[in-house]
Symmetry: C2
Subunit: 702 residues, 2 copies
């Protein structure tokens, strides 16, 4: 325990692992660097650890050992037995039910709402539920400890919605066609017809196989095998008269026969799988390895989200519960998506022989069961940045157990394989054009460069663009407001939701639209503060602060109005400021400014709905010629797809990763200055945004 | 069922898998080619399968399900629960008790004697127990089915005796010193002091390790690793301030980091293990990898012997009970020997990082869990003749789990890694001298060649030289008669036993001595038939045939006289004839005869007691200049030792295996002719044995 830096009267057990500063819970939630740690927005290591946490955990267990309770989650009647004292969030994890829990059970995000149907729980007080919600039996899963047999209902807003997947296969095929001209996967299947053994030709089964492979031009001198395959060969060659299919896995400088099956049993398709392993969502493509077409696709939430929205919380969770738990969560999400994607093409998972996966460094470590703990401790060292080719069975992925798995390399702790995949796909590392690349997610990873150099950095954009820390923020799911404009007279919003469902919240692109509209229509000033009267019909007080009403509860069959609070605006401004400061510092490092940029590439799941003009208006993107911008959508999955199919691209990915120079912003004072200057809409220095014509810059000053 | 080839009045369920001939049990026991299968002695595939065997097995189980009985084996009070109807032999296997069972429970060898102490069993009738034995409660374990709770005693003669091991380490060091000049094991340990990571040097732990290895001159471009090691690295590097010991395993054309441990925890020795995996006995050497000295050694019986003496019975057993069972038996024997050998030097098995193992092709297949079934079916194809470097943990050997295991390659189904090891050790493949090499065991493997060619063949010598099928035959264990001579007047034997214990039987060298003495002293003629009167004090009738009394029961505290029967003589003659015919055919193939031989090397556990002169007298070895003979003892373990220490020798072993030309005798009519001609003492053609002066050749003809 120690005294809070900002509130010395408060004892707290939370400590910043990097700067060794104690902070109370209030400061912890806050993202304003003036209030607590000035490094926070540039520092990807903003995690605050609760000292002595593990001890209290043990105590809890001791006191609750006496009684086991049954918890039923409706709809679906998912039943699980837990010890008395277990939180409903933990119970849901045990029951394999996905509940949104952005803050990893800290009780600060208010997303894990449940409705009590019968039984009772001990619930901690929370300001995150409205009185109306409390009356109707709402509670927060992470703050409610089971006392007896209990039935709870997962309300509509807490149930996981499917991400948009319809037509993804066709769309992907269209997007990706022509990218790969020569298909040479990491695992190749070779049909062989061996000479029948005779008394005159008694070489062993294995040598017979190798002899045939050699005849076909394979370099058998560098081709090994393993004991499992040798055990297989005996019967495999004899089951179909010495006609077999051998699967050869190509590693860095050698190859290995990893499977031998009788030809007769081998009518199977030759499928591959490209995976984008995102912190928030995971995308799976099933690819026909013969022609590269994407046969089907699926995407869904990474079930690790139950351990928190951001990578730091995931690391903390892995330190507490073991890496194995997080590994299992990722694997099970992928396996579920694989099953979904395969079901639509009526195919068995054993037909998948090749896999390529891209994810950030932390996701990759967790997937492979590698301890990521030192990634969040200075000097932020990952265990590995390149990975050997492994086999699906080694980590439990649903595929042929011998399937080759290529893991996209990542150059640094906070710039990972997803960014390398992005560069690979967008291809600017092959061009002379100076390119500024950004992938916007929880971390904003930036790459600046061309065919001569690649510099990269990460800035902690925070989860705001993905809905984290925003009262009605949500991911780009069904019912999310993705486009919005305000009536200049009465500020009445006109909006579009994803799949045209009733509005359930607002996603990143919607927030950028809203912020830009509010700024342009004079609802807020350049400092982000509300400029219209508090008694305006669209304004309301919420938890002691002003908020803008986006939609009234009665229009959307909800308990509450959808609002956008002053804090929400502040969070969004801090996020965009971190990204913009990142651009600036990276350019400065190479002695350039925005005018040198010949191309600006924006990627990320977020990017596909982004209105560039409005993003410039709020100062998230630089005010450069609009034709220089390119939206590239999810470039991580596209890069994984390329690596899946092509040895040339796998090699290129290695080269990209190796040639990237990583800049660490977390101890840069210049970054802090830039960050502070960018906390204005669009910026304190309006000369940087000549194209942004602010009506409000006049009206608010008048 | 079918009619016996030789006794059409008899229905039999035994069929030769190769020649598709039905044979009754009597024919089955007999090794005389005139009586049944003329190919048998040249055919390594002499196994006779009992059709419908598995079905009756199932029936047995059904009827015995109702009752469980306790069987206690004394001495030692080993207790096991089995179902009623289980044989005592099966019960002993379940209790992990070693009982000699040469014939794999067929009831034909009479070696698995037990004494009933209490309880009762259903015993089949057997002629293999004398009336005196039956009176005293003797029974055959394989022919006795448990009816109720039973206590049996393992008599002295059935208990496994330790093979001679005292001083083996020192003797081996003396024998092997100087063989290897440069030690470069397959797994190398490298001590590394990594640069400490800083914000300026943030490469991953793995890259940091590889960077240091590269500095030390290792070719890291061909060095891979695996996911298990990557998981290890995170904490391994940090446990002792980035000082680690990396273990690098060198494969054919690449290397792999297989372990990383903190230096501080790595005070361990660097040990290796050489293993001779014999069908009958297994020898283990513990080797100091720093200087090549043999620190300790142990040898013992391969516990697979419970499944029969010869490799064919082992294959049959693996087909019936699964390869896994035989694999486990071999592994557990090796692990027990390892434990014994390490106990004497007070060392833990985890210090063993390197292993080299040599065994015949069947033993190797079984050890690695590879199905050997096609080895005994025409055209006799092994699954593999070369094996990848595997890790001890993959097959459960007691050693560091990542320890590198080099398995000696073997060129053919019936010429295996033990013979390659023998050639490697004796080194004649490097010399111009034309050499005839023989390893005498159950199979006699012969190699003819020099630095220009290597031809090899196997002939089924049969288990006689190892005591199999001989009434009082035994292995070279404590109490075995290993040297013997006969008084020319009264034929009273004078003999020496191993370790000077009371005589318990006669081993191979003793039998050769005895046969030679009987021939030279006129007890038998050149045809092997007894020439002295049946009423001579040293003659007795046994089971309807004449036998020579080697020792009277009362002199050795036994129930029975030690005798040598007419059948025993016949078996021995057939065995030696098969070997000699093998020599002849092999020479003929290259257009040579015995006079071309410049060197004759004899190896095998058997060889160390062999009296060359007497072996020539009976026609087992050719009558060439005595100075051309070299006894090389156990060359299999010596070759394994060399491969353990030296990369050059591992490569040489591969070359030997690849350059061997294998001749299959089993369909050779010439072999049959030679075999028939050699069934005389020493041979039908005495011109081949000018040095053998037979007193009896006069006396028997007079």
């Amino acid at each position: 325990m120690g005294k809070c830096l900002n509130h010395p009267e408060r004892e707290t057990s939370y400590i910043c692992m990097k700067h060794n500063i104690y902070l109370c819970e209030e400061c912890l939630e806050c993202r304003d660097p003036e209030i607590y740690c000035k490094f926070r927005s540039s520092c990807p290591i903003y995690f605050i650890s609760k000292k002595g946490f593990e001890k209290s955990e043990t105590e809890d267990k001791t006191e609750s050992i006496d009684k086991e309770c049954t918890v039923v989650f409706e709809p679906g009647c998912h039943t699980v037995k837990v010890l008395k004292g277990t939180t409903l969030l933990e119970a849901s994890k045990k029951a394999d039910i996905y509940i949104n829990a952005s803050c990893n059970g800290k009780g600060s995000c208010g997303k894990c709402k449940l409705i009590m149907e019968s039984g009772s729980v001990d619930s901690d007080k929370t300001a995150l539920l409205s009185d109306r919600e409390k009356e109707r039996g709402y509670l927060l899963a992470c703050q409610s400890r089971v006392k007896e047999d209990t039935v709870v209902r997962i309300p509509e807003e807490t149930i996981e919605k499917k991400l948009k997947t319809a037509g993804m296969g066709e769309a992907a095929t269209k997007k990706l066609s022509g990218l790969v001209d020569k298909i040479d996967p990491i695992l190749q299947r070779v049909s062989l017809e061996l000479d029948l053994p005779t008394l005159q030709d008694t070489v062993s089964d294995l040598d017979r196989l190798r002899r045939e492979l050699k005849k076909l031009g394979y370099d058998t001198s560098r081709m090994g095998t393993n004991i499992r395959v040798i055990r297989q060969i005996t019967n495999a060659v004899r089951d179909d008269h010495f006609k077999v299919v051998a699967s050869v896995l190509f590693r860095k400088c050698s190859s290995e026969i990893v499977d031998v099956s009788p030809s007769a049993h081998n009518h199977k398709k030759f499928l591959g799988m490209a995976i984008d392993l995102g912190t928030t969502s995971i995308v799976v493509y099933i690819v026909d390895m013969a022609d590269g077409s994407v046969l089907s696709a699926a995407s869904g939430h990474n079930s690790q989200a139950a351990c928190g929205d951001d990578v730091i919380n995931r690391i903390v969770c892995s330190e507490k519960d073991g890496v194995g738990k997080l590994k299992k969560m990722a694997i099970s999400t992928i396996n579920n998506l694989t099953t979904m994607a395969l079901a639509s093409i009526n195919t068995d998972y054993k037909q998948i022989d090749n896999i390529a996966i891209s994810g950030n460094t932390i996701m990759t470590h967790l997937l492979l069961g590698i301890d990521p703990r030192y990634i969040r401790r200075e000097p932020y060292i990952p265990t590995a940045s390149e990975f050997p080719v492994i086999q699906a069975g080694e980590i439990g992925l649903k595929a042929a157990p011998y399937a080759g798995l290529f893991v996209m390399p990542g150059p640094a702790s906070y710039v990972g394989g997803d960014i390398v995949a992005g560069v690979l796909y967008t291809g600017f590392h092959r061009s002379r054009e100076l390119t500024l690349f950004i992938d916007i997610g929880t971390n904003g990873e930036i790459v600046l460069g061309n065919n001569e150099f690649l510099m990269t950095a990460a800035c902690s954009a925070g989860p705001a663009f993905e809905g984290g820390g925003i009262r009605w923020g949500m991911r780009a799911e069904e019912g999310a407001i993705e486009k919005i404009s305000l009536d200049p007279e009465n500020f009445k919003p006109e909006y579009v939701t994803i799949d045209n469902k009733l509005a359930r919240g607002i996603c990143g692109s919607g927030m950028i639209d809203l912020l830009s509209e509010m700024l342009l229509k004079g609802v807020i000033g350049q400092d982000g503060k509300f400029r219209i009267e508090p008694d305006h019909p669209r304004m309301v007080m919420f938890n002691g602060e002003l908020a803008f009403i986006i939609e009234y509860a009665e229009h959307i069959d909800s308990e509450e109005d959808i609002i956008f609070t002053q804090s929400d605006i502040r969070s969004l401004i801090l996020s965009k400021a971190a990204v913009f400061a990142g651009f600036n510092i990276l350019l400065e490092q190479v002695g350039m400014d925005f005018s040198s940029i010949e191309q600006m590439i924006i990627t990320g799941g977020f990017g596909q709905y982004l209105d560039i003009e409005k993003a410039i208006t709020i100062g998230l993107l630089p005010d450069i010629e609009r034709e220089k911008f390119r939206y590239m959508g999810n470039s991580s999955i596209a890069g994984a797809y390329m690596a899946l199919l092509s040895g040339r691209f796998r090699k290129e990915a290695m080269q990209i990763s190796n040639s990237m120079t990583y800049l660490d912003f977390s101890s840069s004072h210049k970054f802090m200055e830039e960050f502070t200057r960018a906390q204005f809409l669009p910026h304190t220095d309006l000369k940087l945004f000549p194209g942004v014509k602010l009506i409000t810059s006049i009206s608010s000053q008048s």
